[in-house]
Amino acid sequence: MVVDDHPMWREGVARDLTEAGLEVVATAANGNEALARFPAARPDVLVLDLQIPEPNGVAVTASVVALDPDVRVLILSASGEQADVLEAVKAGATGYLVKSASRQELIEALSRVAEGDTVFTPGLAGLVLGEYRRLSDEPARPDLPRLTDRETEVLRLVAKGLSYKQIAERLVLSHRTVQNHVQNTLRKLQLHNRVQLVRYAIEQGIDEPE
């Protein structure tokens, strides 16, 4: 399913995916359309532009992940505004790509996200590192997510632009282990985000989420 308010982009991406042998089950031009068509279309992967008419990409990500925890969200953003990208990832997106990425990069990213892998740009890795640093500056609480030394090391190498293969060679790990480490960094952040939301709901007196 492709969500983008720019018709040329939406159709371009959909065509690229179809030509690569993938099935595009739905397209949408804004957040409301996306949320309306999502339950019927039931896509495996949502390719989502962040800058769409309200509700924006972050809100759409949170909603579809709540509807279907198995859906994968690949963010495709032109401007890649830092705060938005980080929020989308915390809301449950597992892949991020700038729009200038080539067709091959898009297809490859999409199939990796579909398999449950995470697709990071170095820029996103840098942001996630920064987010963990900010969390560690908060007063110590047992429920704050922390990275292990190894996870930090792997994430740092991703931020420096090394491919998973290069990281595996450098740290003498298997490719799969590197993937797991990267996935964990995101999973902890998303879990923390959900815990925060639930706590907020309880504090507001809405103690039965969903």
Binding site: H6, M8, W9, G12, Q51, A78, S79, G80, E81, Q82, A83, L86, V98, K99, S100, S102, R103, T121, P122, G123, A125, G126, L127, L129, G130, E131, R133, R134, S136, D137, R156, A159, K160, G161, Q166, R170
Partner: protein
């Protein structure tokens, strides 16, 4: 302001009435005195209502206010008999003076105070120091209150202007984001399709790609507004300016450091990148990472070139040439940081560590 004045006027009226009821038996014409008191009560109620609406606060009303005060003073010798020690309305007249001060600033306050004071002088047969003190206070009060009201008014205007500017800036920023996003979409599309079509169009696509990266660098970091005021700069946005289609810049998000340091660090990184272009290739990919590690921040610049052959750096120094790496190390050291160089067949990586001045 006029609402505060209304309360003051009521308090002053109560004071005047109290003195009248205490002393009326000694007056020559207590009946006339009672009429004057009634007039003061009526007038106080009238102007309190009238001043409540800004539209009614005209010169006529304010002049009438002063005239009533002056009349009340001039009637005093008739009511009390000659040789009076205090006028009938007493301090109540201050309300009219303050009204003029609020409306016409210090000029109005001073003029009204002068008129009331003249009336006060004219009914007295002799002056005592206390009379002069009261008159003087009235003059000074009219002047100061007028001046302060002017000042307050100006401050309120400036605050309104600042609020309007801030709102306009926020709106401009929102619009810019929308426009930029649209432009970025088109640039990315031109680049993508151009490269796919090939030929001259591919060249167009390449140019569009360069502009796209430059614009994205600006858009991603347009949140630094308050930082630049306090002498700090967002190092992330300084570094993001160095991004090109082959140079990837990763940052932890906005990261404020002293302005001079941010500029210098960006210069050092630019020097490293120019080194990469020189020794590895014009289109050689390079990666820049800014990492916040609490008490320190680390900037690394990595390329995947052939690396620097062993001994070349020291050979350059031995030849009496200050190698690029020496100059980079020197600049980093002068900023209070340390530089580490790792090089091998997999490429070259500089890592610069600077104290951030934070404790955690």
């Amino acid at each position: 302001m006029f609402r505060a004045l209304a309360w003051l006027r009521v308090v002053l009226l109560a004071n005047t009435l109290a003195i009248f009821f205490y002393r009326w038996q000694s007056y020559e014409r207590p009946g006339l005195g009672a009429v004057v008191m009634g007039a003061l009560v009526f007038w106080t109620a009238l102007v309190t209502w009238a001043y409540d609406d800004a539209a009614r606060r005209g010169p006529v009303l304010l002049a009438a206010d002063v005239v009533v005060a002056v009349l009340a003073i001039l009637l005093s010798p008739w009511v009390k008999g000659p040789g009076l020690s205090a006028t009938l309305p007493g301090f109540w007249v201050a309300a009219a003076v303050l009204a003029c001060a609020i409306h016409w600033r210090w000029v109005g306050g001073l003029a009204a105070a002068a008129l009331v004071s003249l009336a006060d002088f004219s009914v007295r047969s002799h002056f005592r120091q206390q009379n002069w003190g009261n008159v003087f206070l009235l003059l000074i009060g009219g002047l100061i209150v007028g001046f302060l009201v002017g000042l307050l008014h100006q401050m309120a205007l400036e605050r309104d202007r600042a609020e309007r500017t801030a709102a306009a800036a926020a709106e401009r920023q929102r619009l810019a984001r929308m426009v930029h996003d649209g432009v970025l979409q088109v640039l990315a599309l031109v680049q993508k399709r151009g490269l796919e079509i090939g030929g001259e169009t591919a060249e167009l696509g390449r140019l569009a790609g360069e502009q796209e990266v430059a614009l994205r660098g600006i858009v991603q970091h347009d949140t630094l507004t308050p930082a630049s005021l306090s002498g700090t700069l967002d190092l992330s946005s300084e570094l993001a300016r160095l991004a090109t289609p082959t140079v990837t810049v990763s940052t932890p998000g906005p990261f404020g450091v002293p302005g001079a340091l941010a500029t210098e660090v960006a210069h050092v990184v630019a020097a490293c990148l120019s080194n990469v272009r020189h020794h590895v290739g014009q289109d050689a990919p390079a990666w820049v990472l800014l990492e916040d590690r609490g008490p320190a921040f680390v900037v690394s610049v990595r390329d995947e070139g052939p690396g620097i052959p062993d001994g070349r750096l020291s050979a350059a120094v031995a030849d009496g040439r200050l190698g690029v790496s020496e100059s980079i190390q020197g600049r980093v050291a002068s900023l209070g940081g340390s530089a580490a160089l790792e090089t091998g067949s997999w490429g070259t990586e500089w890592e610069f560590t600077f104290p951030s001045g934070r404790t955690s």
